[in-house]
Symmetry: C2
Subunit: 552 residues, 2 copies
């Protein structure tokens, strides 16, 4: 009779326990969870705080009792595994309620301890108004502070998923909110110019967004009937705030694994092979605590996301019970709702490509989420990164109010399948006016990419516009009405695309014409006209829309 | 100087014209359109009639003037190409305004004539209240009838895309509507049980839906101040109606091609090779008029949809002007909005697999469009067809109120990329509570499929339940509350899954236990318990939900 012990009862651990039972009726399965809750919806916590999810009990997907009834799993909450004896194949468990300790033997041990919020060494952080958010007790503490302190101002430090979601929750509750992010952008999986759309949305909703600013110190002010915090920021400003959320990131929980002498990867996560086996073949590890392989580069990486954790848990159970499953790397596919926007990405971003010294090209497309003549169409701003030689897909990013998840899903599948940008031209996606376009966002991006690969387009990018020389001439091919209120690039001239054939003689043949329009489509029409008439030209990919948000 | 003539100025023709000009500034390009309009949004026509698209001009994407200004294309509306002289490489054109005829020489000719509505030989159809819908004048005629006749009752014959959209348009206008469909289901790209959800939606919205019923004759009744139609149906019923839309399908417009001696395929569409070249290398053809290759089988097929037409037009232009592009077959990816539902599919359906004698397996999943604890989640009903040996994806179908387009897009990409259902397990799709689930619909369907392939699940399907023998026992593992109001299968017994371990002794070991639950998930848990305890068992895939809609 196989005995399986599982450390951690949320995504990866719970998936493994359920799968293990489905595979074996007679395995003994014990799941230890040092907290009070198992299998809770940690991705839902900010939405309960913000009021979208009214009912707290909806976050509790399973209980120890329900797990026992359905899966015959012995779930021991408030029981912490504090040591592993690999020789004896046993663990020491501490009962956190009465402090007693005991040991359990295992045939297989699964580590799914998750990751813990990073708390930076900032003076004054240890106070009753400062919280992180990782589990149900964290959430309850935040809700208690909201009830007792009735904050008028909240501050969130960190512009990742949880930071953005907590910012939105506070704004939704009518609490004036500051978001403090040390980097020059929120949502680091996308590149800065794509994050620009998110910055715009955040500011439009009235959030006090500070980029490139760090929290330096916190002072806890306790008066007779009130308490608050005074925050000092790295830019010299300060904020008086009533609740502070620290959401700068997480680090893998590896102490138990380290003390047991298991191999820890270069990124600080527990090392596993593709079968989710640690350096000890009887011990598996999954989820936020493990080091994964990047799907594109094969390099080790940390991807603390729910999808990989769930699938890894299932696979670890398969492998413990004689099925053979290999985890096939993580693309880091991610999405975040930020007020009315969605921002999403898969694969590598431009920052990572630059760091790794990889040769790449990029295209931008801004086009309607569905047929523009049908109500409700919204612009999808889409960026695709690829190898200009082979057409290999490196990554994709999208921002918009509609259809963002769908486009990144399409790219995530295409990338995982090893499709090239040439093949993306042929994708046959659902089309009816309420859902898409006959030439979808992805087809259009593929057309632009292939024009570059085939030499039918010569791109220029927004960051090159500041460095134009006297040998170049900047040409806006939009209509004059679109240029109003300073909505154009200084130093340009304007000939609308539909007048270009008649007015081509106004342009010099000895200069390179740098063409731009609103999103790059008319620019391409103008580019082809000029080049086919013997001009030298380049077209600004993504047009003025990309340029403006990138240089804002 | 290359001279390109294009017959037909909508999707395929217009795409080809624009692409040709971008590739060559000095090509002479003439586009003939026998109608009054080019490049109009034919997919939008029903939505203007129903009032979703208020502004008629939004349907006119381009005009001859705008085409000339931007692409220097000579657009000749009300000019019909009536003959091709392949020897002389010229066409005879009839000016439909003055009746004059003239010839134009070509280097390359592109045929994009589209398809025409099929009008069956039914007595009495030729009357002022009967319309089809294919272009702007058809739409205007329908709008005129609506204005002048103020119909209280409308009848639509044919439950394809246009029929369903017109049915919805009429209902939306407050007109009581009958939908008459000769087959036992609407929306033939999906299988009948999946169409069942659509039938339910249609009936719930108050439409008089008649399946398996044909229109037999029409009588035009003209009184003093009113006119109406009396319809005789094949089931003996009749309907008094005030407007009749015939939408039973389209057939390729091939007369011109036939008369020119071009090869016509077995399906009745113009034959082309993968480069969109007809049997005459100087003549290309694209869109609804051509025979395409089915992506899965390689067999010839007709797929009158906008996406393929647009991409084929672009490719034909590429090939005429020295680029090399091959069309890579059509999956028939399609979607239709039916009131609050979307119904979509890609690849082959079960009917086609049965006809072709292909061995296949199928799985059903009914699961939430995004995290069920986050507001707005709707059930996606998903069917996947695959090769139980190789795991090759044959096709997929989905119905639901949210997230249907996304799931079929994912499947369309996966199928085109040649992914297997094994690989679908590893898909890493966007997940945050407002957008998806950590285990997406597609991952879940892949898990079910792989359980079957690996021998970890033995499925039974809804159509086998009627043929159970005395050697089989039907077991409902849902809770008693779910069985109320007759919501269970006659002759079953009920043991809730969470009581099964304690009550397993109630079950006979010599019979095969046929397990079912609501959607198949708890059924699988019960199946694993029983099989691992030495019982013979099968699990009803898709559960009672699939069974109920399939047998309704």
């Amino acid at each position: 009779m196989t005995k399986i012990l599982i450390v951690g009862g949320v995504a990866g651990g719970a998936s493994a326990a359920a799968r293990a039972r489905r595979l074996s009726e007679d395995a003994e399965i014990i799941m230890f969870e040092r907290g009070e809750f198992v299998s809770f919806a940690n991705c839902g916590l900010p939405y309960h705080i913000g009021g979208d999810i009214k009912d707290r009990s909806k976050l509790l997907l399973q209980t120890p009792d329900s797990f026992l009834a359905r899966f015959n799993v012995d779930v021991r909450v408030m029981n912490e595994v504090i040591a592993i004896d690999r020789q004896a194949k046993s663990v020491t468990v501490k009962n956190l309620i009465d402090g007693s300790e005991y040991t359990e033997r295992y045939d297989f041990l699964l580590l799914s301890p998750g990751a813990a919020p990073i708390i930076p060494p900032i003076a004054g952080l240890d106070n009753p108004l400062t919280h992180s958010l990782r589990n149900i007790p964290d959430m309850d503490r935040i809700l208690n502070t909201l009830r007792s302190n009735k904050p008028k101002h909240a501050t969130v430090v960190g512009g990742g998923f949880i930071g953005l979601e907590m910012m939105e929750a506070f704004q939704q509750l009518g609490i004036k909110t500051s978001l403090i992010e040390m980097a020059e952008q929120v949502m680091t999986p996308v590149d800065r110019e794509m994050a620009g759309f998110v910055h715009e949305e955040i500011r439009n909703k009235g959030v006090d967004l500070k980029l490139g600013v760090a929290l330096q110190s916190v002072e806890y002010l306790h008066h007779q009937n009130s308490q608050s915090l005074k925050l000092q920021l790295s830019n010299g400003e300060s904020r008086d705030t009533d609740i502070l959320i620290m959401a700068i990131g997480v680090r893998p929980e590896t102490q138990l694994a380290k003390e047991a002498g298991l191999r820890i990867g270069a990124t600080g996560g527990i090392y596993t092979n593709a079968q989710m086996q640690t350096s000890d073949p009887s011990i598996y590890a999954v989820g936020d605590a493990v080091e994964e392989q990047d799907f594109v580069t094969g390099n080790p990486t940390l991807v603390p996301l729910a999808g990989p954790a769930n699938r890894q848990g299932r696979m670890a159970a398969d492998n413990m019970l004689g099925r053979e499953q290999s985890y096939q790397g993580t693309q880091g596919t991610a999405i975040c709702k930020v007020f009315d926007l969605a921002v999403a990405s898969t694969g590598m971003n431009e920052k990572q490509l630059q760091q790794s010294g990889t040769a790449y090209e990029k295209v931008y497309v801004h086009t309607a989420s569905h047929a523009s003549y049908y109500p409700g169409a919204e612009t999808v701003s889409f960026k695709m990164l690829f190898d200009p030689q082979s057409g290999k897909i490196f990554g994709a990013q999208a921002v918009g109010k509609d259809g963002v998840d769908k486009r990144i899903d399409v790219m995530a599948v295409a990338q995982r399948a090893g499709m090239s940008v040439q093949q993306l031209q042929h994708l046959e996606l659902t089309y009816a006016p309420p859902f898409g376009s006959a030439k979808d966002v992805i087809n259009q991006a593929a057309f632009v990419a292939n024009n570059i690969i085939n030499g039918d387009a010569t791109p220029i990018h927004f960051d090159e516009i500041a460095h134009l020389t006297d040998e170049q001439l900047l040409l806006d091919v939009r209509n004059p009405a679109e240029r109003k209120n300073g909505n154009h690039i200084a130093g340009d001239i304007n000939i609308p695309v539909d007048q270009l054939r008649q007015r081509m003689h106004e342009l010099p043949k000895d200069k390179e014409i740098i063409i731009y329009c609103q999103v790059g489509l008319r620019g391409n029409v103008a580019y082809r006209q000029l080049v086919n008439n013997g001009f030298k030209a380049k077209n600004l990919l993504g047009g003025y829309r990309t340029y403006k948000i990138a240089t804002a």
